[in-house]
Structure formats: C-alpha cells, structure tokens
C-alpha cells in the first residue's frame, strides 16, 4: 500500500465479513481506488432507484435503509446497519444496477466507498475474484431476503417471538448450540426479562461470532418496536419513582414540575398531534375538561399502577406548554387497595373526589358525601382563584377511543358555577391513548372555551344543568373525539 488512505481502506476491506475469504491481493487492488467518505447525521447516502455506482462498507456510525413502493406511499425501515464492515449498496454489483433502498446516515458516519468500476475491472482481470464477489452478493441478498420473510412472519402472526424462533431455527446449522442467542425467545416472553434480551443482542453485536453478529443485527431490527416499548416502560417506571419517591420536604408544585418535565421527554419520543392551541385562554385559572381513555395494559407497572397517559399528555404537552406551570388534576380518591396510586397522587398535591368506597374516615359525619362535595368545591375553587389551571375528566371513568366519551358527570360544571370570577371551561378531546403508544399516533384537540353561564342561566337548576351536559356537551365531545381520532389516523 502506498499511503495512509490506502492502508485504511485495505484494513477495512480485510476486516469486513463481506470480504472474508477473498484473496488479499484482490483487496489490495480494490483499496487503491477506495476512499472513506464522511456523512453527517441524516445525510443521504443514496436514494432508492438511483443508479448504483458504489458499494459501501460501514466504517463507523450507523445507516438506516428504507424502502418504498415504486408507486409512492408509505416507506418502511428495513434495516439499520451498525456493524463495522457490513456492505451497503450491493446493488452496484447486481442488474439493473440501481439502489434498491434509500440509505441515510443516522449519526456522524464514515463509509468506505468502492466504485462499481473498480469491482468490475478487477472481476474482468481476475474472474475468480468476480465469482467470489458474486457468491458474497448472493449471500448478503439471501440473508436480507430471509430477514424480510421473517418480518413478514412477524406481521402475519403479530408476534415477533414466533418470528425470532423461526429465524433461529432456520439458522441452526450456522449457530453454536451454546450461543446465548438461543435464550432470546425466552427473554422476550416476559417484560421483566426484556432488558436481558437487548443486553444479549448488544453484547453479541459487538463481540459475537460472525453468524451471531449477523443474527443479532437481524433480531435487533425485528425487535425495534419492542425496544421502543421497553424504553417507554422504563420511562414510566422512572416517572413513578420520581413522584412517589420524592422526599417529604419537596413541595407538591416541585414534584408536579419534575413529573411534567419527565412526561414531556416521554411524549416527545412518541408520534403525536396537537391542534387548537389557539383556543387556549391568555391567562391561567380555568378548568380543562377532557374525555378520558383507558391505558394499554402493557403499561402496567409492577405495583399494578397504570399512569393515566391522556391526562398527563394534556397537562404536560398542552397546558404546561402554554402557561409554563403544571396544572392541578382532579382525581378519584384511590380505594384502600390502590395504595400505589395513592402514593403517587399524594405527592402531586392533586384534588380528590370520592366515588363511594368506604374507608375508616367515612364513619366521620364531617366526611359525609355532602361534606366531601363542599370540600372539593372549596379546595378546587381555591386553586382556580389563585390562578391555577385544573384538569378534570368529567366521565369519572375511562374507555376506548371508539367508545369515547362516556356520560359526563356534573362536578366540573358545578365547580365552574361555584367560583368567582367564573372560570372558562376549556374542552380538550383526546384519541388513541388506549393503544400501544409505539404503534399509533396520539392526538389532542383543544376547542373553543365557554362559560357555563352562557348556556345555563341557573346552574342550581339540576335539570337544566344535566340537560346541557347530556344534550350539548356530550354530543360536542362525541364529534370532537372522532375528529381527534381522524387527525391521528391522518398523521399516521
């Protein structure tokens, strides 16, 4: 070799699993014309359909390969290349010599570019090299075909574990019986061992045998969504611990702020749409009423707590975003067996409402239902009068997006009537929080605020109040939730 550039190129070629078994003299010849090319984060390496003029080997960084249909429409990430020496753009050696995917650097990345001309020239000069090259291309294309079929299997069965078992079964002849990869399907069966699955894959990707490295890469691609779900789950655990584990000296406002900032980090990584923020009042001190959606059971924490993601979304991404202060939520007082919730809500300084369960304090005449209603109006009203926003789900229960909303209860409206100056009721419709957050788009739409007194002359008239809630607010929300769901679908 004649210089450092050529020496680096040769080193990369010799170390690449793609060129394993090639005659070093052929690789030295290729190194002469090869060059390491740097790419910035999100810089395009090549575009699907473009003439394929170079074969690349990954030197450092990572590259995403994405494909779409020739007719346009959605695209799909088919591979994330992170292994040093892995070939990208092997279409440069295969008719019709157009790139079959779009390659984009995901971080500062260096690729060794070997020109198609150099490969062809060497194959013409030494056909044995050409033959070995083509066998290597058949190998890498065959591996990708097998990986794609495995993903089809995963989609068909909606079960990535089935697909991974199949992949490992197919790879049996190439894989040592002692390989840690065989443990993977078992790790994937339980959420609490998911992290072990990923540490196994990461370790093998770095230090495994060649077949293990390649299979670990294929499995990691297949498990991309599972990894996102694990990350989400860990974030939920962190948020819970941040709140429930806050020291007694920490004020509720401070705990709310920390929780809100953590939730903002979580939601920032999830596909979401927010519309209608122009309707938000200029100053705080109002009641945000929203439909309430169930949580996906996958988000259940080990202590049986499901954090209500829709309300945290509205609190952190809509209200906090506008006013810079976390709102106070009104929540149902937890049942005695729901100590995990109670521990969480107590630290956040939320306002409680009661839903009929009996605990020791219920025998006290001062905590009769009427006394509790009064207490709620006083405590919640005081927050509003101090210019704090409140977030309330008037249904008192939760459901799925396509069945939302349930019938609204009057408490939030009675609170609005109780407080002077009369606060605005700010409607917010939400959709898709009942689905797997990594596989959907969540949406929230703020609608024009209103004052109760503009619709109900005497809020003390129960019939008039319920008539307004059931026959006006209810139908409005039904339409608004459909609209939010359509917005989410469109965004997907």
């Amino acid at each position: 070799v004649s210089g450092p550039r050529e020496a680096e190129a040769l080193g990369q070629l010799l170390g690449s699993p793609f060129f394993e078994g090639f005659d070093p003299r052929d690789l030295a010849e290729l190194a002469r014309g090869a060059a390491v090319v740097p790419f910035d984060t999100y810089e395009l390496v090549f575009l699907q359909g473009d003439p394929a003029t170079s074969l690349f080997l990954l030197v450092s960084g990572s590259v995403e390969l994405r494909v779409g249909r020739p007719t346009g429409g959605p695209t799909l990430v088919v591979q994330t290349v992170t292994h040093q020496g892995y070939p990208i753009g092997w279409s440069a050696m295969v008719a019709p010599f157009t790139y079959r995917a779009t390659a984009t650097a995901l971080e500062p990345t260096r690729l060794l570019a070997v020109s198609q001309d150099a490969l062809r020239r060497r194959a013409a000069a030494r056909p044995e090299f050409g033959m070995t090259l083509m066998r290597a291309v058949v190998g890498v294309a065959g591996d990708r075909l097998r990986a794609t079929r495995t993903r089809l299997v995963a989609r068909r069965y909606d079960d990535v574990v089935v697909a991974i078992r199949d992949l490992l079964h197919q790879s049996g002849p190439r894989l040592s019986v002692a390989s840690p990869l065989h443990r993977l399907p078992y790790y994937l069966e339980h959420r609490l061992t998911l992290a072990d699955a990923f540490s196994t894959l990461d370790a093998l990707a770095d230090h495994g045998e060649p077949a293990e490295r390649e299979l670990a890469g294929l499995c990691a691609d297949l498990l991309d969504r599972v990894r996102q779900e694990l990350d989400l789950y860990r974030q939920l655990q962190t948020i819970y611990q941040t709140v429930a584990g806050a020291g007694p000296e920490t004020r509720p406002e401070e705990v709310r702020l920390r929780s809100t900032l953590e939730f903002r980090r979580l939601f920032a990584a999830i596909r979401h749409r927010i519309e209608g923020t122009e309707h938000l009042p200029g100053r705080p001190g109002h009641i945000f009423i929203m439909n309430h959606l169930r949580n996906h059971p996958d988000n259940l924490l080990p202590n049986n707590v499901l954090l209500t993601l829709d309300t945290h979304f509205v609190s952190s991404m809509v209200v906090f975003e506008r006013y810079g202060e976390a709102p106070v939520r009104v929540v149902r007082k937890s049942r005695p067996d729901e100590y995990g919730f109670q521990q969480f809500y107590d630290r956040l300084g939320y306002v409680y409402v009661y839903s009929g369960h009996v605990d020791a304090g219920d025998e006290d005449p001062d905590t009769s239902p009427e006394a509790r209603r009064r207490l709620f109006l006083e405590v919640a009203g005081a927050h509003l009068e101090r210019g704090k926003n409140l977030v309330i789900c008037p249904e008192g229960s939760s459901t799925f997006t396509d069945r939302s909303p349930l019938r609204f209860r009057p408490g939030a409206f009675r609170l609005a009537a109780h407080v002077r100056p009369e606060p605005l009721l700010v409607p917010v419709a939400v959709a898709n929080f009942d689905k797997k957050l990594t596989a959907t788009t969540i949406a929230s739409v703020v609608h024009e605020p209103f004052r109760l007194s503009d619709f109900v002359a005497d809020p003390g008239d129960d019939r008039a109040l319920l008539d307004f809630i059931n026959h006006q607010v209810g139908p409005w929300f039904r339409d608004w939730v459909r609209e939010a769901a359509a917005l989410a679908d469109w965004a997907s």
């Binding site: 799909l76 008719a95 033959m131 291309v137 058949v138 097998r146």
Partner: protein, 156 residues
C-alpha cells in the same frame, strides 16, 4: 435436453455453445402436478430449477403452519439459489400452485462450468444474485404493503 431450448431461458442467454452443451447434457425437463413440493425448507439443495410453465408457491414454515410469502410465475424464474451459497440449504419450501413444467439442473454441472471458465461463473452468479435481489424487492414490497395496511387497522 436441446441446448437451444436452454438458451431460450434468459438465465442462459449469451452463453457460448460449449457451455450450453455442458449444461443441457445434465438438464432434464419435468412435468410437476399441482400441490407437489419441489423443494423442502432446510433440505440441502443439489438441484437448481427453472420455471418454464405454471406457478410456484414459496412457503416458510412457522411452527405447524406454512406461511405463503410469495408466488413465482415468470418464465425462466430460478428456484433453489441456496445451492450457490453456504450452508447450501433451502430457506423456504417451494410447492407447485398449478401444474408446472420445470427444467432441473444439478448444481454440479454449474460447478464444473465455473471451474472451466470462472468468467462464466462471474456472469451466471451475477444472474443468480439479480434473481435473489428481485425476490427481495418483491418481499419488501409485500412487507411495506402489509405494514401500511396494519397502520390503517386492517389485518393481512
């Protein structure tokens, strides 16, 4: 088999006469009824097949099920590319969807040809690679379609 007939398949187009004769001497044409399996997943592949007429299903075994991942119907489509790469085992099962006619060629005939003329090895292995790459593209297209349908709430 008549070398001229073999040359009619795109895979063999442009080969010198002697090469066609070597391959044609080892080739045989087969009529295969619908439903017959011509290649079993995981089996060692010793014969390369070319579709002349009919249609072939590509199936992947998952547990007790065979999942259909593609159908080949093009004249001259190559089946059994695993014969050219380690570990030389079929990655899928291939079954006749309709009564089909196939040209079968033992991989040893190819290897003999490649050792006599590595240039032909380069050419023909390039055509094998193109066939696998085309199949990969079709599989990816199916995956993109299935994923898009999944996103809209439909099941494939």
């Amino acid at each position: 088999m008549d070398p001229a007939k073999l040359e009619g398949l795109a895979f063999f187009a442009g080969l010198p006469r002697w090469a066609l004769e070597v391959l044609a001497g080892a080739a045989r044409e087969e009529e295969v009824p619908a439903g017959r399996v011509v290649l079993h997943q995981h089996d060692r592949v010793r014969t390369v097949l070319f579709l002349v007429e009919g249609a072939l299903q590509i199936l992947v075994r998952v547990g007790d099920d065979d999942l259909l991942v593609g159908v080949l119907g093009g004249y001259g489509e190559l089946v059994g590319w695993s014969a050219f790469r380690p570990p030389y085992r079929a990655t899928a099962t291939v079954r006749c969807e309709r009564p089909s006619r196939l040209v079968a060629l033992p991989v040893t005939a190819f290897e003999e040809l490649f050792s006599r003329d590595p240039g032909l090895g380069y050419l023909l292995l390039g055509r094998v690679a193109a066939g696998v790459a085309d199949r990969l593209e079709q599989a990816r297209e199916r995956l993109v379609t299935a994923t898009a349908q999944g996103a809209m709430g439909e099941r494939p």
